[in-house]
């Protein structure tokens, strides 16, 4: 009963307009944080702009991205930059990437990009790179070292030898549950680049990594997975403060592995079920994660949204802006040394979210 009540409360809050003007900024800063260390950025992901024909695109997915862009532009103070987390397109073609880029061009300020598998497997990222630049890179911002990886590569044999056409290769990888797909990986070449990039960085410098796939192994059947996750984690292990942000999963997940905090992004297009809702397979959803409410299909934007992240003292606080539910905040907790949801607590003391079937 209380679960039903919770859901109704969420919907009422949504109806009352918990909107961009009342976004939950960090009100409490850590005592040792220098004011100049604190900054925010917006994180938008998985818009899956889908071409129908001519100038027609799937309206539903368009609306998700348009809304995220509009709300991001309303933020005050302005975030320092916007990160787009990958899967801008559905089938990686020029009309989709162009249409997506046009919508993103309305964003005020600098936009960075992460490569998603839906952007990549038609032309192996060629047109995407023309629009957005290199597929992996790093930059420094206010004392934080940011790294962007292309984590959706896979075995060469699958990429180059298995499919008769680029179109079919794209379609095969686009099906999340397609048994003909292939596990994602960062690969030797990029890991070597990462090793060299990190060699120049002090161990006390906070590191923030963006990848499209989780740099951890959750469920291989849906590629909530990176084949060489452990090797990437090992490169990040010597640093004091590491945060990994990833898209692809279209749902809220968070985890802590050693020194590395993981937080995912919601999609602007559609939510995905948690792997545990597939009755026929074992999965390893992080125990820390308190799941989102099950999406209500009658609300087109339910369980989709975008994120506002603030970084203070090199630790992150992620505000999930859900369109039809109360927003959620997952912040690094110095006491537990893990990301923690500010409303939904550890299993023994937590308010469970809506039951999942």
């Amino acid at each position: 009963m209380s679960q039903t009540f919770d859901r109704r409360t969420f919907l009422r809050n949504a109806a009352l307009g918990v909107s961009a003007s009342t976004l939950p900024f960090t009100l409490v800063e850590l005592a040792f944080a220098k004011p100049e260390d604190t900054f925010t950025f917006a994180y938008i992901s998985d818009s899956h702009i889908q071409h129908i024909k001519g100038t027609q695109f799937v309206r539903n997915w368009d609306r998700g991205l348009i809304r995220a862009v509009a709300e991001t532009n309303l933020l005050t103070p302005k975030p320092d930059f916007v990160m787009f987390g990958g899967d801008l397109a559905q089938l990686g073609n020029k009309p989709e990437l162009d249409h997506g880029a046009e919508m993103l061009s309305k964003l005020k300020g600098k936009v960075y990009h992460v490569m998603g598998e839906h952007d990549y497997y038609l032309d192996l990222g060629e047109y995407w790179s023309k629009l957005f630049g290199p597929q992996y890179y790093s930059f420094n911002h206010k004392g934080v070292h940011f790294i962007v990886l292309n984590s959706i590569l896979t075995y060469d044999d699958w990429t180059f030898n298995r499919w008769p056409s680029p179109e079919q290769r794209m379609l095969e990888m686009a099906g999340l549950d397609n048994p003909n797909g292939s596990p994602f990986m960062v690969g030797d070449k990029q890991r070597e680049w990462l090793r060299k990039d990190l060699a120049k960085v002090k161990k006390s410098t906070p590191i923030v990594v963006f990848s499209h796939s989780p740099l951890q192994k959750i469920y291989k059947g849906w590629n909530f997975w990176t084949e060489d996750a452990e090797q990437v984690q090992a490169l990040l292990a010597p640093f004091d403060k590491v945060t990994v942000f990833y898209g692809h999963v279209h749902q809220i997940q968070y985890n802590q592995i050693g020194n590395i905090s993981f937080t995912s992004a919601m999609a602007t297009a559609w939510p995905w079920p948690y792997p545990q809702s597939y009755a026929q397979a074992e999965q390893l959803l992080p125990k820390l994660t308190v799941q989102m409410n099950r999406a209500d299909p009658f609300f087109e934007r339910d369980a989709t949204g975008w994120q506002l992240i603030d970084i203070h003292s090199g630790r992150s606080r992620v505000n999930f802006n859900l369109y039809n539910n109360k927003g959620r905040t997952v912040a690094f907790d110095e006491k537990t040394g893990t990301p923690v949801d500010s409303a939904y607590q550890a299993p023994e003391s937590r308010t469970p979210p809506q039951a999942h079937f």
Partner: protein
């Protein structure tokens, strides 16, 4: 009458002497039924991943990989948005009309049967909880 009684006794004798029961399914029956079912599930899976089912290229599997989050075991159930107790096929039609921007199917359309068979197959082993939300 007497003839029938004798026949019945004879049949019972046969039933007891051999282990097989009178109406046991034959191997070929079982094989055929299973093949029929598997074929329809397979057809359902291909419809589930088919961008041409609706009009906008969106496929069911885009939001429901392995038919997850369809929870067929909870139907029929009250759907507040429809204002009545609904069957799963009505929800499939809701998705065909809305996210897929397509046309609904008749309840007994072979395509609907195939998709419902696929959904049920992916959810096998889960206990029935009709009416549950």
């Amino acid at each position: 009458m007497k003839m029938i009684r004798i026949l019945a006794v004879a049949l019972m004798g046969m039933a007891f002497s051999s282990v097989a029961l009178a109406d046991e399914f034959t191997e070929s029956d079982l094989k055929r039924w299973q093949e029929q079912f598997d074929g329809v599930v397979k057809q359902g899976r291909s419809l589930w991943t088919d961008g041409k089912l609706g009009t906008n290229g969106v496929a069911c599997a885009q939001c429901h990989p392995n038919a997850a989050n369809t929870h067929p075991e909870t139907y029929p159930k009250f759907q507040k948005q429809l204002g009545k107790v609904a069957n799963l096929w009505e929800m499939v039609n809701w998705c065909l009309r809305n996210p897929l921007q397509g046309q609904p199917l008749e309840a007994d359309d072979a395509k609907m049967t195939a998709m419902l068979a696929y959904i049920a197959w992916e959810r096998r082993g889960v206990k029935l909880e009709p009416g549950k939300h």
